[in-house]
């Protein structure tokens, strides 16, 4: 990357996560500092590298040291980095998170990954097409236009084994083939960038960090299926992604990669951006299409599938952002190289958004077939605060919650589906012992219930009735038959719902019922929430043998629920206690515990 120019370069990670952590301030600090100290260096920006827990990330690239990344950078740290690293050529070792020749606790985070989709994220300036081109960008497009027939492009994608990354894992090549073969005077490509799963942000990171890789994928798809127009449906809550896409579209146009007679060939293709209003269900392909058409974003029954009757009734190929971001790499590196990665039926890599009670949260791209344990413990560094692993929720609110017994299953579509979870878009939320599984199921279900479009009965009413039961359980009002009813409802909603939203909404409930049955039973039979999350089911108890009678807890209790005398043992009056836990927090002798 350094190349011709010998001046050092400072690159600040300006993805949404970086910005939220203060990347703009850090960038300004660098600017100020360089001026103040009179140093010549180039300042640049890049997207998200994936180490969210280390944001703000700033890279310093010098001739002698190569690329060195600093993590958790704040403006205060900037003068020292400039002085020590840039002027004196001595990197500030204790702040380094990555760098040639440095081993840090974060090294594993990146070295265990296999970056295809994220190949440029955090490495290039997403608003400079030259940097994309410099890393072989648009070579794949040139290649297909010059020497590969549309049918052969489809064959390559089929051979690569790439499956849709939007959730269902439908073979991408096959979808393209269906669209190509469907009859229609016009055809469309849609890039689904609605990314509605709470906790998922891989699509956003790709669009913010490497928008051209997506455009190139869309263009190749357009060429392959015989479309001339594409839409990128981005959620409006992603303003930075929208902005970078717009910049990318302009640049691609002026470089002749987009528009009429692309690269001097007869291929014409235009791309429009459509900002979605944010309903989760709008990510479902038929609802998304309705939304682009200006109708209410409601799913409709398939068949017909979009490939035969999609946007305005025309054959339409709709793929996810991540799916598209794989395309150019596959064309450039060959289907064989791609299909060499992964398992028998799930090829290539998958990006996961690793969050929750985990040490190193962030975006990771891993080869298919890797185990959950490797991701959570080797890459993610294990549970935060050295807690105990309890569960991992795969696939967001439509996914499932897996227990420790399943940590060693390999990640591929079929295996995950067998567990009752789904690959989904790649959300991975890690839970420790402090998480109540009933409450977690309630959390996810209340999300989907709230997002139900309301069209079909099972989803509209079924999820609501399920949620009511879960609420009862967490309030300690659940009865034995509620568990039975809940399981039946969950199964029926899954079977009978119209679209994917309803068909998957019960997954968190079904999997927690399966893997954490005792926890549900404790809520009903003992009226206890052992994780201490369901406040109606917890009691705070002062341990006689540890209480020193200091009375500090009394001062902190907002409702005067603690009774007793100084120097004697105090007690908590359960009838008054509001379970705020302030007493426990403040007891200097750890004499108060939750039961």
């Amino acid at each position: 990357m350094m190349g011709e120019n010998a001046a050092p370069k400072i690159v600040v990670g300006l993805g949404s996560c970086g910005i939220a952590a203060g990347a703009r301030e850090v960038l300004a600090a660098f600017e100020r500092e360089l001026k103040r100290q009179g140093v010549r260096a180039k300042l640049g920006r890049t997207g998200c590298l994936g180490l969210c827990y280390r944001e703000v990330l700033a890279d310093v690239i010098t001739k002698s040291q190569g690329r060195i990344s600093y993590g958790n950078v704040t403006p205060v740290m900037v003068p020292r980095i400039v002085e020590q690293h840039i002027i004196n050529d001595k990197p500030v070792e204790e702040w380094i998170v990555l760098g040639d020749g440095y081993t840090t606790p974060d090294t594993d985070f990146l070295t265990r990954q296999y970056r295809i989709v994220l190949r440029n994220c955090g490495r290039i300036d997403p608003e400079a097409i030259e940097e994309y081109v410099a890393r072989d960008g648009y070579k794949a497009l040139q290649k297909v236009l010059a020497e590969i027939s549309p049918e052969d492009v489809i064959s390559i994608i089929k051979e690569s084994g790439l499956r849709g990354r939007g959730g269902a894992g439908f073979p991408t090549g096959l979808k393209w083939e269906f669209t190509r073969k469907a009859k229609g005077d016009k055809k469309y490509i849609i890039c689904n960038a609605d990314e509605g799963d709470p906790g998922a942000f891989m699509d956003r990171s790709v669009l913010e960090g490497d928008p051209h890789s997506v455009l190139e994928g869309v263009l190749i798809a357009g060429y392959a299926v015989g479309a001339q127009e594409g839409f990128i449906y981005v959620r409006a809550e992603y303003p930075l992604a929208v902005k970078r896409l717009k910049v990318a579209l302009e640049q691609a146009k002026s470089h002749g990669f987009l528009g009429n007679n692309i690269l001097g060939t007869p291929f014409n293709f235009n791309i429009k951006i459509k900002e979605g209003a944010g309903a989760f269900v709008c990510g479902e392909e038929t609802a998304l299409i309705a939304s682009i058409e200006g109708r209410r974003g409601m799913p409709r029954l398939r068949p017909p599938f979009p490939a035969t009757s999609g946007l305005w009734g025309k054959p339409t190929c709709i793929n996810n952002v991540e799916t598209f971001a794989n395309i150019a790499w596959i064309i450039s590196n060959g289907a064989g190289k791609y299909s060499a990665i992964g398992t028998e039926k799930s090829k290539g890599t998958k990006v996961f958004a690793l969050t929750g009670r985990i040490k190193r949260s962030g975006l990771v791209e891993v080869p298919m077939g890797i185990t959950l344990r490797e991701i959570i413990f080797d890459i993610g560094g294990g549970i935060k605060d050295d807690g105990k692993f309890k569960a991992v929720q795969l696939g967001g609110p439509s996914g499932g919650c897996l227990s420790a017994d399943l940590l060693d299953i390999p990640i591929d579509y079929e295996t995950i589906t067998q567990t009752g979870a789904i690959m989904g878009s790649g959300g991975m939320v890690v839970a420790d012992e402090r998480t109540c599984m009933v409450d977690l199921a309630k959390f996810f279900l209340s999300f989907t219930q709230n997002e139900s479009c309301g069209e079909c009965v099972p989803c509209r009413l079924g999820t609501k009735r399920m949620l009511e039961i879960l609420i009862r359980l967490t309030q300690g009002k659940g009865e034995e038959e509620d568990l039975y009813l809940l399981r039946n409802l969950a199964r029926d909603v899954k079977v009978a719902s119209l679209c994917g939203l309803g068909q998957t909404a019960p997954n968190p409930v079904l999997t927690t019922l399966e893997y954490f049955k005792e926890e549900y039973e404790a809520h009903v039979r003992e009226r206890r929430c052992y994780a201490g999350v369901c406040t109606d089911l917890t009691v705070f108890v002062i341990k006689d043998n540890l209480c020193k009678g200091c009375g500090i807890c009394v001062k902190h209790c907002p409702v005067e629920a603690i009774v007793g005398k100084r120097k004697e043992i105090y007690h908590i009056d359960e009838s008054k206690c509001i379970k705020c836990g302030l007493c426990m927090e403040h007891c200097p002798f750890d004499a108060i515990y939750r039961a």
Partner: protein, 860 residues
């Protein structure tokens, strides 16, 4: 036409047409698959999930209302899995349905209740939620209680296809609700009140207000009959309980009825109905016995006949009566009274079209069917208030447009139909004939006509060419329509391989535009199924067929045709007059030779032009007898009033716009005397007995006279002549004292002379009680008029005061007034066009001035 395939449902082999859905196939075999969102006749969405079935080889249950059949398919509709899914769905719906079946109107026909029962769900395991939506009873016709709504979406879908497309879902998830734009009440969002939504609603969320607590579903008697308003004469079922009409429904839920058909029946049992005859004594109408009344009428008519001769008598019959009544009326007038002075609503509402059809084609039976409109490739719509006048035609047009038929609309007003048109020719008012001739000329020039047809079948092409060349001068300037648009229209019409139908209003058409329309048909050889005149009254076609025109005998035979006359004389046993009589308009004119007039069901004081003149003529008659169901404005002037019956009490037939003979069945006992019996008795009293023991006997006689009524067909001409006339303007030229042109016409809810609709709740839906002047916003502004302003409208005939209604669909200079209230005809002229002897002037010149607002606005 489609291929047949065989599949297995519930173990039974069934052979059905390919392309249908599993649920339809099941219905074929008599298996009912439970369904709620699906409704026969509507596109389905697969939303309720009740119709799930098991398909051999499919992992998941499939939605049978959407899945198409395939040869060899094996379908199971009642497996445990299926039943569990269904129970689950119904139970869930019940959990959100705080309905109290006990006193629910839909008890017994509720589809949700039906499935709950069939699936054996006694009680839902969930607590039933009360949604707490207010019940909307703000309009007189439809009650909306969304607490009961199960969100099947049927109403939304049907409103799109046959209503005014004002319903949609609002919000998401649990709070989803069916709503109108901005959640306003129906009457504020241009609802057509067709009630289609009510008809398809599976539960009691949408109800006819009229039925509330007036009869359980199983107590209702349904009589199949046909609507007596517009010329579509749609099939309907009158639902009665113990002789009281409770509601009107249709055979299939999705069959269309407009507001008038579905809700406009309540005049029938209105308290103002006349039940006893009245005779004028000392200037006052007082009740009397039937014998008194009929003897008196017989005596007076005989006396006039004796002193002034038969041609001093005249009769006018309204075309909302049955063929049987109308036929008998003309027989009475011709054979008993001995005059051809018998005429009907046909004169003012459709005469030019009827006369032209008979002249050119030899038969009045030229219209295509309603279904053919829906199937057409292109529709030419001249006068686009069709959805007011004949709403069902409007629906067929909409359906055609959904099917991507091309619409070309010719109208000065940018109506709803104009708005969905591919080509909208907004011409200057009153220039239809010029524009149509211009289109024909353009077709000639561009060779867009059927040379073969014209050469082999038409006799006077050269003359026609000459005529058109003359007519085509200045078309652009005269009509205000650009040459390009005219050429486009010519191309649309000239596409020979397309099925094109011209839809026009015979009421609004002068003779010249009817000529022009017929010439277009001839130019392209579309002499069959190429035109649809929408009749503004249910039995206008029948009235002409029955001979209720002063120049035609039954069967549309001219009165000077001696063969027919001789045949009739034989049957009637009486000598018949051989000269055409007076037209209705001629009978009610000052200086008329008529001294005694018999009016059956017609209300000239309201429905004839120039009210002042009409009232003058009627009051100066020696004797006026009016037979009607209400004391109409005209009946009030009568010497004798004879109470007749409404369609709901009648048996007989109507002949609708399509030429279909619709059967009318008695749904309730007559409140007065059947009209045919009154005529027959009167005739007997005058020494000419008319002995029929039922309506059918009258029809038997009609059948012997008109072959088309007994399964035969009309004689048709084989060779045709273009028909030409240049008779100047059919509108009064505006000048500085009367600068605006007034158009009168139908509105959505009121009807014809208003005598029936004004006594129905539907008229409450008309703005300003249906008495207003529609005016373009700019004209209004320049006159200082705002919505609701009181304005004085005057013409050379008279003036009236009404409220102003701002109407953006009107062009500058054209104002509109509903035809059904007595005010509008105060302004119009009754000038007679000599060949057709109907009104000459369609549009009258008027002056408008704003009246000072004095206190409250009233509409007296």
């Amino acid at each position: 036409m489609s291929q047949l395939i065989t599949l297995k449902i519930e173990g039974r082999e069934v052979t059905v047409p390919d392309g249908i859905t599993i649920i339809e196939a099941a219905t074929h075999t008599g298996i009912d698959i439970p369904h709620l969102c699906y409704c026969k006749g509507l596109e389905s969405t697969g939303a309720c999930r009740l119709c799930l079935v098991e398909l051999e080889g499919a992992k998941e249950l499939v939605v049978s209302c959407r899945r198409k059949v395939k040869s060899g398919m094996v379908v199971r509709t009642r497996t445990d899995r299926v039943l569990e899914a269904r129970r689950f769905v119904v139970e869930l719906i019940l959990s959100n349905h705080p309905g109290d079946c006990m006193s629910c109107e839909r008890n017994g026909t509720c589809e949700l209740q039906k499935y709950a029962y069939e699936l054996g769900i006694e009680k839902t395991r969930f607590t039933v939620k009360d949604l707490g939506y207010p019940v909307d009873t703000s309009n007189p016709l439809i009650e909306r209680n969304y607490n009961l709504c199960i969100l099947c979406g049927r109403c939304i879908r049907i409103c799109k296809t046959q209503g005014s497309d004002i319903l949609d879902f609002m919000q998401r998830g649990m709070v989803t609700k069916v709503t109108t734009p901005l959640d306003k009440p129906l009457q504020e969002v241009d609802c057509d009140f067709c009630g289609s939504c009510v008809a398809v609603c599976p539960v009691a969320a949408l109800l006819e207000r009229s039925r509330k607590f007036r009869g359980r579903e199983w107590e209702l008697n349904k009589t199949k009959t046909a609507c007596s308003y517009c010329g579509c004469s749609c099939d309907l079922l009158i639902n009665t309980k113990k002789g009281e009409i409770v509601k009107v429904t249709t055979e299939e839920k999705t069959d269309y009825l407009c507001a008038r058909g579905r809700f406009g029946w309540d005049y029938v049992q209105n308290g103002e109905r006349l039940k006893v005859p009245r005779i004028k004594r000392d200037g006052k109408l007082v009740e009397c016995t039937w014998d008194e009344a009929l003897d008196y009428v017989a005596r007076r008519l005989s006396k006039i006949k004796d002193t002034h001769g038969p041609h001093s008598l005249g009769g006018i019959v309204s075309a909302h009566h049955t063929n049987e009544v109308i036929y008998l009326f003309q027989r009475f007038m011709r054979a008993c009274l001995g005059t051809n002075n018998v005429d009907s609503s046909v004169r003012l509402l459709s005469y030019p079209a009827v006369a032209d059809f008979i002249e050119v084609f030899g038969t009045p039976d030229v219209a295509c069917s309603l279904a053919e409109i829906e199937e057409a490739d292109t529709l030419f719509i001249v006068h686009s208030d069709v959805d007011m006048s004949s709403p069902f035609v409007g629906v067929e047009i909409k359906r055609a447009s959904k099917r991507e038929a091309k619409l070309v609309t010719i109208d000065p007003r940018s109506t709803r139909v104009a708005e969905i048109s591919h080509l909208y020719l907004r011409l200057k008012p009153g220039t239809e004939a010029i524009l149509l001739n211009g289109i024909a000329h353009c077709m000639l020039e561009e060779g867009l006509y059927s040379r073969e047809f014209v050469e082999t079948k038409c006799s006077n092409m050269d003359q026609f060419k000459e005529f058109l060349t003359k007519q085509a001068r200045d078309v652009e300037r005269k009509t205000g329509v650009s040459k390009e648009s005219i050429a486009k229209a010519a191309r649309f019409y000239g596409e020979s391989d397309k099925k094109v139908v011209i839809i026009f209003s015979p009421e609004a058409s002068d003779i010249q535009s009817v000529h022009a329309i017929i010439n277009l048909l001839l130019l392209t050889g579309r002499v069959k199924g190429g035109v649809f005149p929408y009749m503004p009254l249910c039995n206008l076609r029948g009235a002409a067929d029955m001979g209720a025109l002063s120049e035609f005998y039954p069967g549309c035979k001219v009165v000077d045709d001696s063969t027919t006359r001789r045949k009739l004389e034989r049957i009637y046993g009486a000598a018949l007059p051989d000269k055409p009589g007076l037209s209705s308009l001629e009978m009610i004119q000052s200086g008329t030779t008529i001294s005694g007039l018999y009016i059956l069901g017609e209300n000239p004081v309201v429905s004839f032009p120039n009210t002042t003149e009409t009232v003058k003529a009627l009051t100066s008659l020696d004797f006026l007898v009016v037979q009607d169901i209400f004391l109409t404005e005209t009946a009030k002037l009568a010497d004798v009033v004879l109470p007749g019956i409404s369609f709901a009490e009648s048996s007989g037939t109507f002949t609708n716009s399509e030429g279909k003979v619709k059967v009318i069945n008695r749904a309730i006992d007559p409140l007065a005397r059947p009209d045919w019996k009154i005529i027959a008795e009167l005739s007997s009293k005058m020494g000419y007995p008319l002995d029929y023991d039922s309506e059918e006997k009258i029809m038997d006689e009609i059948k012997t006279l008109i072959p088309a009524y007994s399964g035969g067909s009309w004689d048709r001409k084989e060779r045709y002549s273009f028909i030409m006339a240049d008779m100047g303007r059919s509108y009064e030229t505006p000048d500085s004292t009367h600068p605006y042109l007034l158009m009168t016409g139908p509105t959505k809810f009121d009807f014809y002379d208003g005598s029936r609709t004004s006594r129905s709740r539907i008229s409450q839906l008309e703005p300003f009680q249906g008495e207003y002047l529609g005016i373009n916003p700019e004209d209004a502004k320049s006159l200082g008029i705002t919505e609701g302003s009181k304005v004085l409208v005057s013409s050379k005939r008279g003036s009236i005061t009404v409220a102003a209604k701002i109407d953006e669909s009107l062009p500058l200079g054209l104002v509109f007034m509903p035809a059904h209230f007595s005010g509008s005809n105060v302004l119009t002229t009754s000038d007679i066009e000599p060949t057709t002897r109907t009104r000459k002037i369609q549009l009258s010149a008027v002056a408008i001035s704003q009246l000072e607002e004095v206190g409250e606005v009233t509409n007296e």
